[in-house]
Amino acid sequence: MILVYSELKDGKIRKPSLEALSEARRLADASGKTVGALFVGADLAGVEEAAAYGADTIVKIEGASLAAYSSDAFAAAIADTVKAKGATVLLAAATSTGKDVAPRVAARLDAGYAADVTGLCMAGGKLQAVRPVYAGKANATVDFTSAIQVATTRPNVFAVTANAKAGAVEALPAPADSFKAVVKEILAKVGGKLDLTEADVIVSGGRGMGSGENFKLLEDLAEALGGVVGASRAAVDAGWGIPHSQQVGQTGKVVSPTLYIAVGISGAIQHVAGMSTSKVIVAINKDPEAPIFKLASYGIVGDLFTVVPELTAAVKAAKA
């Protein structure tokens, strides 16, 4: 079995988890395995959705003690399920929780681990992964030698594919011990807004924006496109009140949206590392020599303060 640790949000399976499930189904079909979707939490209404994306089995570990995330308790629950179901591959989406818990599960299972993978296949009965390394400047192929293999999948890379299976729901008991570290509260909750790593469209601003107030231009464009606003490290470091959680790059978030619009961003390696796997890249910069243009699918050389409002208006007109 290929087991996928899946996350729910507001009663729906998170998109990065659906991507991991869809990829697990493809791997299972290619290797004659089954797919299990595993959910851990206090309220697991909505898990049946996993059947539509290829889950033969849906495993629930539900308990009041699991309302708040605990890396050690969740790792124990996931590893126990891998053993109980005899799974040989564990996938999770490379969300903040997935990347936090998966290495612990790997250690518990004495399993090899690869993070943030962008390609997967089965070779000789074992998982083989491709993942970006050196800030996206190279791709490494990872072969596993352990009996169990663990990997996290980079959001927005693997296609979500509907493929209905039985999805028989099974409940396993919640872990009794552990809880050495527990999330007590979530501050500065980003109300309703998508996390950068999950967004399909990102409009990012750099030093060229000149001030935090000017990011309003980007918010308007992002709203017209149904996207979210990101920033380069230079913009975050400039003291314009832009939080680090919005930073795209080597020391911020790694994103792969369908459309990435870089505004007033020169394209330093620090930034490129975080967005070079975006499907379509648009650059708007007044400097025709800016390195970002080498990466861009489409580039406009011009004054962002003119181009961005025009673009917002044109997008609204096109969508109307």
Partner: protein
Amino acid sequence: MKILVALKQVPDTETKIKVAADGKSLDPADVKWITSPYDEYALEEALRLKESKGAEVVAVAVGDDKAKDVLRNALALGSDQAVLVKAAEAGDPLAVGKALAAYAKDKGFDLLLFGNKGFGSDNGAVGPIVAELLGLGHAGLVTKLELSEGSFRAEREGDAGTEVVEGALPAVITAQRGLNDPRYASLKGIMAAKKKPIEEIEAPAVSASAVVSALALPSARPEGKKVEDAAALVALLRDEAKVL
């Protein structure tokens, strides 16, 4: 209080990446080696705890002889001890985690600090793996850390916002940018560090569980188009790229 800081030697983040003749490793020619940037936040946090609460800081690196440079730098910055766990670093986080856990076990560390990931390999796995192997709690991607008697409170970057994690000590914490501003070594510190010993121990023999079998440069993105104005761009995004 006794604090372990795990350090990794990595290629400078501006390094031009070339693949070695074996087709699976980095060509080391012209590579400048530095302490992984996230590890600098971990070391700085340890040094600040040493100054504010009193602590013994032990810097540990897993690697070959060239990793001694990051240990020497840690001594120059104020670490009390430096330990090199000798092992060939083959990009397997579980093997590195086992080497560090084997060293740290039963040594009475109250806090184990890591960078949230090693630049280059970017697995972000060794800290959580060591926590699991030692049976400790952990908080990853930490931007604020407070210690009390026997417990910690950490703020970490979660997908839904800043998560506040609380747990018991000993614990593993992995540092994210924003935790602090790392200091530079003083000339006096650098001179003194030259005389301090670096303890060398052998890593336990463990077989790799995941190995890099090929390293390749990504295919170049297709040549982009220069577009005149916003209207032309929207038309291309809609009709050619089909993303609108």
